[in-house]
C-alpha cells in the first residue's frame, strides 16, 4: 500500500521531504546512544577493548547486505514495471552501499589486526565475501557510468544487479561451506543470541541507527536523482522552445 502510494513521484517527493530529516535525526540519535552504551560497556574477557569495534563493524556489514538487497529489489521493480522512480532509487543506493561495505571492510580489518594478528585473513570466507560485495557495487557503478544513454544504462545495470543478487546467496553459502576461523554467527542463531545483553543492546541500537541513516541517505540521494532528471528535461525543454 505504502509502496504503491510512493511510486507516484510527486507523493514520493512530498513524503521524502519530511521523512529524510526525520530518519536522519533518529538514526544519528540511535547511533550516538548505542555508541555511548558501547563505550560504557566493560571490556570483553577475551577480546578486551577491541570488542567495541564490533559496534561499528557488524552493523556496517548488516547494512551493506541490506543495501544490496535494496539495490536488487529496486532493480527488479524497475525491470518488471519499468518504473522510473525505482531506477532512480537503484542508482542512488549503489554508492551508499559501496561506502557501508567499505566501512565494514576497514573496521573489520582494524579489528583483525589485534585479534588475528593480521590486517587481512584470506582464509576467512566472510571477509572475502564482503570484498566480493564491494566489487559487485563497483561493477554496477562502472557499468552505469560507461553507458551514456540513460535508459540503456538503467536496463543493463538492472540485469547486472539481479545477476549479483542471485549470486549473493551462493557467496553467503560459501561462508558456511568454507568452514573457517571467523567468528560464527552469534546474533541470528537458533536458541537465541549468545551475546551478553551489555553488548547486544548497543549493537542493536547502532544497527537500528545505521539502518535509519541508510534510509535517510537513500531518500536524499533518490531525491537528488529525481531533481537531476527534472533539471535535465527542463533544460531540454528550454532549448526546444
Amino acid at each position: 500500500m505504502m509502496i504503491s502510494t510512493l511510486a507516484n513521484p510527486h507523493k514520493f517527493m512530498a513524503f521524502s521531504r519530511w521523512a529524510t530529516p526525520v530518519l536522519g535525526i533518529l538514526g544519528a540519535a540511535l547511533i550516538g546512544g548505542g555508541l555511548w552504551l558501547g563505550l560504557a560497556a566493560p571490556p570483553d574477557y577475551q577480546q578486551g577493548e577491541t570488542v567495541r569495534i564490533m559496534f561499528v563493524h557488524v552493523p556496517a556489514a548488516w547494512v551493506s547486505m541490506l543495501a544490496y538487497a535494496c539495490l536488487g529489489g529496486a532493480s527488479f521493480v524497475s525491470l518488471v514495471f519499468r518504473h522510473a522512480l525505482a531506477d532512480a532509487a537503484a542508482k542512488a543506493v549503489a554508492p551508499i552501499g559501496a561506502t557501508f561495505t567499505g566501512m565494514a571492510l576497514v573496521t573489520g580489518s582494524l579489528w583483525g589486526r589485534p585479534m588475528w594478528g593480521a590486517w587481512w585473513v584470506w582464509g576467512d570466507a566472510r571477509l572475502v565475501s564482503v570484498l566480493v560485495l564491494l566489487l559487485l557495487f563497483l561493477g554496477y557503478m562502472a557499468l552505469r557510468a560507461s553507458i551514456d544513454d540513460e535508459a540503456k544504462a538503467a536496463r543493463a545495470a538492472e540485469i547486472l544487479a539481479l545477476a549479483g543478487l542471485i549470486n549473493l546467496p551462493v557467496v553467503k553459502f560459501s561462508v558456511n561451506w568454507w568452514n573457517t576461523l571467523h567468528q560464527g554467527e552469534s546474533i541470528m542463531r537458533t536458541g537465541g543470541p549468545t551475546l551478553a545483553p551489555v553488548y547486544l543492546t548497543p549493537l542493536l541500537l547502532v544497527g537500528a541507527g545505521y539502518s535509519l541513516s541508510f534510509g535517510a541517505l537513500w531518500l536524499m540521494r533518490t531525491r537528488g536523482e529525481v531533481w537531476r532528471r527534472r533539471a535535465a528535461s527542463l533544460t531540454l525543454q528550454a532549448a526546444l522552445t
Binding site: A125, V128, S129, V132, L135, L136, L138, G139, A142, L143, S146, I147, D148, D149, K152, A153, R155, A156, I159, L160, L162, A163, G164, I166, N167, V170, V171, S174, W177, W178
Partner: protein
Amino acid sequence: MTALVALFRRELALTWGRGGGPLLAVGFFVAAALMFPLAIGAAPQRLQAVAGGVTWVALALASLLSLEPLFERDFDTGALEILSLGPLSLEVIAAAKCAAQWLATGAPLALAAPVVAVSLGATVATGALVGLAATIGGIAFAFLGGTGAALALAGRRGGVLIALIVLPLLTPPVIFGGAAIANFAAGLPWAGGMILLSAYALATVALTPFAMAGACRNALS
C-alpha cells in the same frame, strides 16, 4: 534445429578462426602461468604447493581475455540485429555463442591446463583434476563472461569493464574449483567442490541466456 546448427557452426568458425581464437587464450594462459614461478621463486616445494591453484587462477583470467568480440563483433556489423529477427530467440542465440566460446577457448584451455599444472610441480593426478575442473568450470566462465560481454555492449569501455563486471561473479566457481583441487592435492575429500562447481556451471547455463538476451535487446533498442 537446422538454424541452430548453422548458427553454432558459424559462431564456432568465428570464435575459432578470427582474432586468434584458442591460440590467443592458450598463449595468454601459458604466459600468465609462467609469471608465477618468475615472481615467487623456482623452489620446487614452494611451487608444488601452489601449482594447482595458480593454474586455476590463470585459467579463470585467460577465459576473460577473448570475451570482448563475442557480441560486439555481431553488434557492430549489424549481424546481431539480423539474427534477432530470425527464427531463433535471442536466448538461444546467446547460449549458442557461449557454447561456441567454450568449445573454441575453454576446451583448448582445459587441454593445456594439466600440462601447465604438472610443469609447475603438481602430480599427474592433480593435473588431470585441474583439467577436469577447467572443462566444467570453463562452462561457467564462458556463460558468465558472455553475460558481461552482452551487458557491456551498450557501453563504450569494452574489455576492462567486462573484467570488472564478471570477476566478482566468478568468485563462487573459483572457490569451488580451487577447493576441490587443493583438497585433492592434500589427499582430502574433493568431490564436494567438484559437484558444487558442476552445479554452478549448470545454473549459469540455465539462467544467464535470459540475462544475455535482455542485455542484447537493450543494446539493440
